[in-house]
């Protein structure tokens, strides 16, 4: 199947692109366009052109990973398009086809899957207090460090039910609920996506010469977590 055709299978693509008249209203307020070499108008232009080679190039590029999915573009488009939704369709396809590992930003999907993805399935939350390790989150500052180190007491102080049974913030999600989430992932293709990310990342890590691919994978993950080639915004 042609790439364009595959994109049209995605409901979000259908919603996101009616017909673009290249007015640039999306780029004008796009936070990513301001700090990255990124132009949502051109993304719409490329997919609209149905040019297969350009779409493939796009799927392999950093460009589709710059968007912050704030959806500001949706508000203003005079044709009711939403580049954010187009981006989501492109990202899904890029992961399905393994193209995401071709770009620096795309390779970061593995680390996100490992942290956020596994949190969702095994803990029922996207983010956990344990994730906010000061070395990985220096911006959380001294207060963040204090919270992290004393999390049990601090959360207790503000009436959160950290790791507790029953209701409340940060409660432990009951096992039966986690099982249901697991089933949902199983049935709806959530794990398929996870496996694709793992599979293609492994191939890439190998071709990039990382050695611990079959065991911990930490070098590649650290690499993708911290690497920035500095070429993402034009002077």
């Amino acid at each position: 199947m042609q790439l364009y055709e595959q994109l049209t299978q995605d409901i979000r693509f259908e919603e996101g692109l009616n017909s673009c008249m290249n007015c640039g209203i999306c780029t004008a307020i796009c936070p990513a366009a301001e700090f990255y070499d990124y132009d949502p108008r051109m993304i719409a232009g490329i997919v609209q052109s149905k040019d297969e080679s350009q779409i493939e190039e796009l799927l392999k590029s950093d460009a589709i990973w710059y968007c912050g999915e704030c959806m500001s573009c949706k508000t203003r488009c005079p044709r009711g398009n939403c580049t954010g939704l187009i981006i989501m369709a492109l990202r899904s396809l890029s992961q399905e086809l393994g193209f995401f590992t071709e770009s620096e930003k795309g390779r970061q999907q593995l680390v996100i899957k490992r942290v956020i993805g596994e949190n969702i399935v095994y803990r029922g939350y996207c983010i956990l207090p344990e994730n906010l390790i000061p070395e990985l989150h220096p911006e959380q500052g001294p207060v963040g460090e204090w919270i992290f180190e004393n999390r049990k007491e601090v959360y207790k102080r503000v009436d959160a039910n950290y790791c507790g049974e029953g209701t409340g913030a940060l409660r432990k999600i009951p096992k039966e609920s986690l099982d249901e989430i697991y089933q949902i992932f199983e049935i709806t293709g959530g794990f398929e996506r996870f496996d694709q990310i793992e599979h293609f990342s492994k191939l890439k890590a190998r071709s990039m010469g990382f050695s611990d691919v079959d065991e911990e994978f930490t070098d590649y993950i650290n690499h993708t977590y911290t690497t920035n080639n500095g070429k993402h915004n034009r002077p």
């Binding site: 995605d10 990513a32 912050g68 970061q108 969702i120 911006e139 001294p142 503000v158």
Partner: protein, 354 residues
Amino acid sequence: MQNEGKQKIWKDYQKEIADDHYFYVRSCIRQNFFPGSEQTFLKILRAELNKDIFENPHHTTCSGIGYHSDIVPFDTIQTIVARQFALMTEAGYRNLAVSCITSFGIYNEIIETWKEFPNELEKIRNYLKKATGREFKIPQNVSHASDIIYKFREDIFARKKYSLTNHETGKPLKIVEHIGCHYAKMFPGKGVGGAEFPHVLVGMIESWGGEVIDYPERRHCCGFGFRQYLVMSNRGYSISNSKKKFESMEPYRPDAIASNCPGCPMFLDRWQYVIEEMEGKTYGQNGRGIPVLTYEEMAGLVLGYDPWDMGMQMHQTDVEPLLDKMGIEYNPDLKYAGKDGKQIGQVKMAGCKC
């Protein structure tokens, strides 16, 4: 600035907000950073407004952060959301009160998708049935927690202990509002006041005696950007967007920033610290940062709740300048104390305390 245009907009975008019997869904981000705010919300609704708000321990994340960083497929998140709806249906509730803006956006997006593509709804019903055996009804009313506070803002003010004014001069405090992008940018009709001039926080601030500052980059995203913050090497994006906002609001000398989003107040709070570390620049008065509040904290302060009970010690940027202006009595010694009044650990001030 004139009011005529805003009045028309606020009139055009009035959404329906259920007035009682809510099924509450929490936020993964907020419970990490502002667990006290969620507790404050429940307290206000139950203790001050006598509302019925139900909590179910079985609800999970909506998986929105995963979805918006594209590791969770659309079918998966729809089914997870359908499960939340099933829990609500099973508990006998029809009104959803959402703590998180990302979730709020996702609930709206999914409900709208189902309206547009009924086949999709059927597919999800099947998925959910197959995975969990559950069935669900689409909520009658989806309101963000800030919508509910907005709806009852006058009732809250009737029970006020403080107002958003400088207790010395009596002048209104200057507050800038920051609305989460997913609140109304996707569906302007789902937000109070629409996408361009949302009234949800403006209404609260003005009702509670404050003055709202409309600054040029008011509508700009805080810069969370999901994958942009989650991965360290992308965080330049996040901080740069927040910085852009600070630069733009600075000339107005705001007394506080109020937000209705889970991530934004944390970012607007923490990035002030980072910018001071990186560039030595502070945006508030007297070389301190601009205090950042959640709307629940703001409401709690007005109602006279103890700031440390609400978790305001978990802010990196000091809130004391605001508390002092409002004339709020608080015990500085208990800031980092536990329930028992004993100090918890040690906050390393690291030379910077915005």
